[in-house]
Structure formats: C-alpha cells, structure tokens
Subunit: 106 residues, 2 copies
DNA sequence: TTAGATTTGTCAAAAAATGACAAGTCTTAT
DNA sequence: ATAAGACTTGTCATTTTTTGACAAATCTAA
C-alpha cells in the first residue's frame, strides 16, 4: 500500500524507535513541525532529503523518488485530476522535453 | 500536438487578433507580464481563469483542465518524473482519496 | 527612421512556505 | 490521581517565492 511521505517518515522513525524530538533534532527542525509533516499538515522541505537519507541509511535517489511521487500525487489529488487528464499532463510533459531538446540543439 | 498553457493563450490571442496590450488590459495585467506568460517565463495566475474563459467564450471547466494538465505536466517535467514513477504518483493520489473518504465517514 | 508590438531586466509588494515557541492533549508508569 | 514524556495544535515572525509594474531594450513592418 502506498503511503504519503509524512507517513513514510513516521514509519521510518518508529522502526528506528526515535521520538519526534530525537528525529527532529537530527533533521535540524522543531518536533512540532515534524509532527505536522508526519500528519500531512506541512510539507517536508526537499533540502532535507540528503540528511533524511543519511539518518536512515537510504539511497538518496530512491528517497527522492518517494518524495517526487508524493508531491505529484498530492498535486493530482488536489486538482481532482482524473486518469484521463493525467494522460494529457504526461503528454504535455513530453512536449516540454522536446521543447527543451530543440533549445539545446541551437 | 499538446502545447503549454502560455502557447495556448498566444494562440487564442492571435486567432482573435488582439495585441498583448489589448489582451493584458482585459485581463487586468501588464503586457510585459502577459508576454512572459506566453513565453513560459511566468505562470498564468489561476484566479484569472474565469476572466480568460469569458474573453474567449470558453467553457471554464475545460479551460481549467487545460490549466491543470499544464501545471502537472510542468511538475512532471521539472522533477524528471518517469512514466513508471508517474504511475506511483497516481497510486498515491488514489491513496489520498481513500484517506479523505475515510475521514468523511467519521 | 518611426510607430507599434513584444521582450527583458529589475524591484517593490503580495502571497505562500517555513521555523519556532507556547500551550494543549494523550498515554503510560507509578 | 498525577507526573513525565510524547505528540499535537495554534499562532506569529521570518524567509522564500510569486506577482505586478515600470523602464528600457529589441523587433517588425510601413
């Protein structure tokens, strides 16, 4: 089952038997804010991904994938984007890639 | 072929033979900023969608779909999200929907 | 060249995200 | 029951990001 990024952090934290305060300290943030992150009331700041990976000995690329898919999933959810529209969005992303390619050739 | 939202606005503007200055005035913004929007250097502010729909007699829901798919497409592009990861993101969106549903039953 | 159209650079203002603190609730051990 | 620690929530100042406006530049066609 897929989880939100916040739930994922909580899972990691519990597996490693850390309190909010302990993990927050390692991440250089307030336990209150970490609580909000775990509960989906705030976003985890992307700049802390390397630190998070290090703390739990995770592969940074994979962790970033977790993060990105969470963010885009949230975007899809918040905009009520249907599967059909998501297909269109994917095509538009592809279009941007071709735009970028043709820029580079010049 | 899919286009960016900025290119779409430019298309509409040209079809209707308006200058940047003319359309910008109808949208209550500066022609310089509209230029940046059309050229993908700024985002169109979502709050102007109703006005844009009215100016060009477009269905607001469809226009919003154009907008949303552009935004998500941009997000996909900027994060280098592959098709495989996008599938994961979609599953996470679905998960958020179930979360929301179970909240509502309580 | 000149006029109008468009683009670019810059900066202040507005809006959104973040961090921190205080005070609250919940849980568990005694 | 209550004390301690864990967690949650509300609020606000700070920081960051986005937006709007103006001035100056470039481009284009007569």
């Amino acid at each position: 089952m897929k989880t939100t990024f916040g739930e994922y952090i909580r899972l990691l934290r519990n597996e490693n038997e850390l309190t909010l305060t302990q993990l927050a300290a390692k991440l250089n943030l307030d336990s209150a804010n970490l609580s909000k992150i775990e509960n989906g009331k705030r976003d985890f700041d992307e700049k802390r991904l390397p630190k998070l990976a290090k703390i739990f000995k995770l592969n940074l690329t994979e962790l970033r994938n977790e993060y990105v898919t969470d963010q885009i999933g949230k975007h899809i959810y918040e905009t009520n984007c249907t599967k059909q529209l998501l297909q269109v969005a994917e095509e538009k992303a592809e279009y941007r890639r071709t735009l970028n390619k043709s820029l580079q050739t010049q």
